[in-house]
């Protein structure tokens, strides 16, 4: 259901089911094997791990198979603030990314249509940050926003912020980093939708007495819903599970830890594999439910 938002054309039915059935199966095989090996197997393993109990030997990091569903209750109790914070950050960062990306995508996809060269140049600029590892870029932002950096020095000198406070490690810094890192995933689907937008609808709307603001609300916005939905999903889902930006080594602090951060520390530092797994499974379940509700309420069926 959630995946419908990413597709564009409805699947067409085949005429001769028997003969083409085998070909279809053959063509699907690599994909199915891939899904089986790299999605269902780890998922299954993850669920099993999430139900394990500490080993009877008492060795640290060793666990026995079991059915410890209490693991889920425990992580929910101990990590509730991080879970809430993750979805709060993801929502805010997604909204900011949408607000920045929409005008940009509209400009590239609609206004620059008559200048294909500039259009391609702008698109390249949108993707350009990907040429550098996002870890490096996030580290770079850490340098830029460091207390000794010229930006913070300027802010302190102007007395906009007391020197006892820092930008790094704050909610703002993490949301900034998340928005910055994922914005191309919003811009590109929006661009794809808006690039196909028929501007004659704008003329028809104006001809039918709608002011430019009304035309945007009644025509442009509903017709760009497929792009908005794919963009928000492509940004929201990875942000909800992100563990880099919020980490202390990058833009965050102990006060900004998200689900991803906790999974990482449980797995790699505490060797608490069942808790990390339970947290991962829970994150996935919540995202699937949220996304399904979102896609259903946005009513994309009409647009596909």
């Amino acid at each position: 259901m959630a995946f419908a938002a990413f597709g564009s054309a409805p699947a067409t039915e085949h005429k001769s089911p028997v003969k083409s059935g085998r070909i279809v199966l053959a063509l699907l095989m690599p994909g199915l094997i891939y899904l089986g090996l790299f999605f269902f197997t780890p998922l299954f393993s993850l669920i099993i791990t999430s139900l394990e109990t500490p080993a009877a030997s008492g060795a640290i990091g060793a666990y026995d198979y079991g059915f410890a569903w209490q693991n889920y209750v425990t992580v929910l109790q101990s990590y509730f603030p991080q879970i809430l914070r993750s979805f709060y950050y993801a929502t805010v960062a997604t909204l900011i990314a949408l607000l920045i990306s929409y005008p940009l995508a509209y400009f590239i996809g609609v206004k620059l249509r008559r200048f294909p060269l500039f259009q391609r140049l702008m698109l390249t600029l949108v993707i350009a940050p990907f040429f550098i590892s996002f870890l490096l870029r996030t580290i770079a932002w850490k340098q830029i926003f460091a207390d000794e950096g010229w930006i913070m020095q300027f802010v302190y000198n102007m007395h906009w912020m007391p020197t006892s406070e820092h930008f790094l490690g704050s909610d703002f810094a993490v949301i900034f980093g998340l928005t910055y890192n994922f914005i191309p995933f919003m811009t590109l689907p929006l661009y794809t939708t808006l690039e196909r937008f028929d501007i004659r609808f704008l003329e028809a709307g104006a001809d039918l007495y709608a002011s430019p603001a009304k035309v945007f609300r009644k025509i442009t916005l509903p017709l760009s819903m497929p792009g908005i939905i794919s963009g928000t999903l492509l940004v929201f889902i990875p942000i909800a599970g992100d563990y880099v930006n919020a980490s202390r080594d990058f833009l965050g602090s102990s006060k900004t830890s998200m689900i991803g951060t906790m999974v990482e520390s449980d797995f790699l530092q505490n060797w608490d594999y069942p808790s990390a797994s339970a947290l991962s499974v829970m994150l996935m379940a919540v995202i699937v439910v949220l996304v399904s509700l979102y896609v259903r309420s946005a009513g994309t069926e009409d647009l596909l």
Binding site: D198, E203, A204, A206, D207, L208, K218, I219, P222, L223
Partner: protein, 375 residues
Amino acid sequence: MAVEFQAAGADLELIDVRKEFPGFTALEDMDLHIPAGEFFALLGPSGCGKTTTLRIVAGLEQQTTGQVLIGGKDISGTKPHERPVNTVFQSYALFPHMTILENVAFGLRQRKIEDPIKKATDALNLVELGHLAERRPQQLSGGQQQRVALARALVNRPALLLLDEPLGALDLKLRRQMQIELKAIQLEVGLTFLHVTHDQEEAMDMADTVAVMNKGRIEQMGAPEALYDRPKTAFVSKFLGQSNLFVGSVVDSNANTVSIEVGGHKISVPKDRAEKHTGKICIGVRPEKATFHRDQPKLGSDHVLVGPGEIIDIRFTGVSNQYLIEIPNVGELTVFAQNVGISPVVELGEKVWVSWKVEHSFGLSDLPDGTEDEE
């Protein structure tokens, strides 16, 4: 400015409207007056400026200079959504995310007219599509979409309805049917229609007045019959129907007629049907007005006679045959003859004379392209 609506159509006036695009002038100082309630057609080839004219009236394009008046009110500076006009677009531009009914009700809702759904339903019934109200535009055929576009514009009772080649995408049979329906609706609602088309038959069939446009100017304007009977320029004579044109210097002029000599033949035109009476002029005749003869006929001075020539092509078009006749020193002539018999009246290669009544000749104000420099 609030949008005001008349019970009936309003008149449209263009005063010295000029439109320049980078590199070329789309409209050259156009003056035009369309009386209220008239069906007016702008006819011309693509790139002649007819669509630009329509877009300027709709407000989708801003004129470089000049004024646009609707019902005597200058609307030159207003935005499209402030103008009491509606357009039926060539592409229909129906909103794909709305039902047919919501498409038709869109304009009413924007103006907060009472009971938009009822009025939209009535408009859909007028174009006989009431049963498709809940469908989406993509589910309709081209002809149905065209009618929805018409209903969406008509339901607003605009002072002026603009039609931008709305029948262009339809096949011939559907087009003829829609032409009849469109004309019937115009008579019924009494609105002013401005119809832009490159289809001369469509323009002549539907419009009260036709203006033939060429290179950003109106070449000639008038009732379809008058335009066809007496085209005044070579362009109009060729664009509106077909014409045989003869260029020569005036050799004879009396009280009633002027005559030119072409390849040893005297071709005359009544003075009151000629724009120019001296010098090098062009005289034309419609192919269906000319007849051919197997033997040289004896005709008085009230006829023009050219020939002998040879039939070099015969084209069967159903109702009539088109004969192409090559006459030495004169050129090629087209003659239409009705297929009242069974086989063609003459065979390919036969020797014939062509004649027509002097009163059917018309004299043009200019010369056809390519003959200007010959002296």
